[in-house]
Each structure stands twice: as structure tokens, then as C-alpha cells.
Amino acid sequence: MNNEMHLKFRAISRNESFARVTVSAFVAQLDPTMDELTEIKTAVSEAVTNAIIHGYENKGEGYVYISAWLDGDTVELEIRDEGIGISNIEEAKQPLFTTKPELERSGMGFTIMENFVDEMTIESDPNHGTVVRLKKKLSNAKAVFN
């Protein structure tokens, strides 16, 4: 089973739920378990929230881009923004590190992503944006035909 999708949507928080459902519906083609799907949704949600509130500083402008590929039993995801970028990625990945404590951010976004998928890589170019790549192998994946 090989498949591919690309999504672009406005960077507003109301689209977080939309992004979760879209990714779930795509990954559901591999018939994951409920917890695998929850893990993927949660990771994507963290990345999308980051793009909106950090990348675009919650200004309601700009777009978030999600790409997803299914390859055998593996899901690859890319969540991208064209926002302010991250100057120090190692620091940003530290548990509890946040640049927006006033928004009651927990600083746990990257930690959650890292724990819920098999591979996470972050690429960022200050002033040009950020790409988060996530990869997860599903335990028991098979193509579902419905």
C-alpha cells in the first residue's frame, strides 16, 4: 500500500481539529489500533499547534502544510510552516522548554511527538519557517478496503 497526500490550510487554531481528522482518515487506511491512531493524532496536533502559535505567533495569517505518505506499514508525516523559525533546535526540544510561558504552554510538545512516533526530525530556518518530520511504523498494518 502506497499513498500520498498534501494539505494546506490557514494557520488558525480552529483548523487543529480539521488537521487531526484529515491525518486520521488518511492513516486509517492502514487499519491502525486506536492507540496508534491517538498517538499519531496527538503528535500531529502538537506540531500544528506549534506552527500556528509559535511559527505564526498566533496572528491568524499564513498557512500550515501537512504531507503524509503511507509506505507499506509505515507512516511518514511532514508538518511545515513559513513562520519565524527556531534558532536553537536542541534547546527547543528540551522537556519543559517554552518561549511562551504566558500562553500556559507546557513546553512538552516536542517531547510528546518524540515519544509517540519512531523518528522525529526538525529542520528550521529562522525567518523562513520550520519543518517537523515524523515517522511511525504500525504494529499490525494492513490495507483496509473500504
Binding site: S17, A28, D31, M34, E39, N115, N146
Partner: protein
């Protein structure tokens, strides 16, 4: 995180496909009940509130019980 994972793992290995079909049946009944109660077609958020199931899940479940085009897919894939 471990705790979040453990919490999520509670309903463990249930396949999404099966779980959604069950929700799909609940939605069908809720739609009928609400239509009687409200005297009009319920909106998706009304169904979600009534069943206390997130809209996300309602959307996916609706799809899981929607069969019509799948015949085509089974035949031609």
C-alpha cells in the same frame, strides 16, 4: 508522558475500523432521537453533545458506516 501513554493504551489493541462502526450505529439512533426531540434535523455538534462523543470521532464513524461506493472499490482494486 509514560502516564499519558499508559492512559491511552487502556483501550489498547482495538482496531479503529471496528470501534468506529459501533459509534456509527449510535449516531444513527441519536439522529432519530434528536430529530423527534427538536422537530428538525440535528446538527453535527448537537449529535456530538448528545452522545458526548467528539466531533472528530463522529465524522470518522459516519464514514465507517457509509458503504455505497465501497462496492466499486472492492471490484476494481
Amino acid at each position: 508522558i509514560g502516564e499519558i501513554q499508559r492512559f491511552i493504551r487502556d483501550d489498547g489493541t482495538i482496531k479503529v475500523s471496528r470501534s468506529l462502526k459501533e459509534v456509527g450505529n449510535k449516531i444513527r439512533r441519536a439522529k432519530d432521537d434528536l430529530a423527534k426531540e427538536l422537530g428538525r434535523a440535528p446538527t453535527i455538534y448537537e449529535v456530538s453533545d448528545y452522545l458526548e462523543i467528539p466531533v472528530d470521532e463522529i465524522l470518522l464513524a459516519q464514514e465507517a458506516v457509509m458503504a455505497p461506493t465501497s462496492i466499486h472499490e472492492i471490484v476494481y482494486e
